[in-house]
Symmetry: C2
Subunit: 143 residues, 2 copies
DNA sequence: GTCTCTGCAAACGTTTTGCAAGTAG
DNA sequence: CTACTTGCAAAACGTTTGCAGAGAC
């Protein structure tokens, strides 16, 4: 278990959730896998330590976590849901070629957007949050 | 048929696609329904004129259209794919309460974003496009 | 002891597939 | 005429559900 169990247990109790071994393992999986894992990736990870955990439990637990605001659900261009353990506001970089999603945080950008939408209110619409989806590719190893 | 058939036919031929009645009807449906219809909504619309069209055909056709860049596929917070006949760049307003998605176009915003990302290149990453997801609700009829 | 959670298996809705027959170019 | 498209049915896929037994508090 990569993250100290007490911390995970505490996190669950804080939200009024029973700290079962399965839940601790699932939360650990999300934090350890870190990069927006799918339910399947979480299952694979958790099964290493809990071979008998069922998919139903995984989904129910993830659902509970989302409802209790322990994690977020992220929709992706392909039709699989992903889960995100990072709750501070951030944008997403979609790596089109590798299907990887990384986080993008930039306060200056957020400030810019905030100012823009204060000046340009959308008629009849109240903005709750603004998230950028940035599509592109790694250019680390150009051909 | 809401949109003149010749135009639809032409649009298909341009992309090297055979202009079958089914394809014309599906394209018409997307343009007529207009606001990011689901495959189901498209099917319902098309069945009014083509009662025997099969769901398989709808999906295959939509897929072909996306591949040939006749339409775009839009992923949504709930797990249904939607299709978009408007190919000019635009952002999306997610109406959380009603599940409606409307378009948001603002050149000043796009200019702002372009300038921002020119100044703040993301290391190792080449941006292809930037799309805003704006979440919120209508405040037209406040309680 | 109570109330919630787990595991299992069945069901669900959406999307994909394989194939034979049909049709646009 | 030929290659692509259609319709159909079956199946794949990710996810949800119901229920009986197990476990956290």
């Amino acid at each position: 278990m990569a993250i100290h169990q007490q911390l995970l247990q505490q996190k669950l109790s804080e939200k009024g959730l029973k700290a079962t071994p399965q839940r601790i393992a699932i939360l650990d999986a999300i934090y350890t896998l870190n990069n927006h894992p799918t339910a399947e990736q979480i299952t694979d990870f958790v099964r290493a330590a809990h071979p008998t955990i069922s998919i139903g439990t995984i989904y129910k637990t993830l659902d509970t976590f989302v409802k209790k605001n322990v994690i977020h659900k992220v929709s992706t261009p392909d039709e699989v849901m992903r889960y995100d353990g990072i709750l501070t506001p951030h944008h997403h970089l979609y790596h089109t070629d590798s299907n990887v999603i990384t986080d993008y945080v930039n306060e200056e950008l957020d400030e810019l957007l905030k100012t823009f939408f204060e000046k340009h209110a959308i008629e009849g619409y109240e903005i709750n949050s603004v998230k950028l989806n940035i599509y592109g590719n790694s250019n680390e190893h150009p051909k």
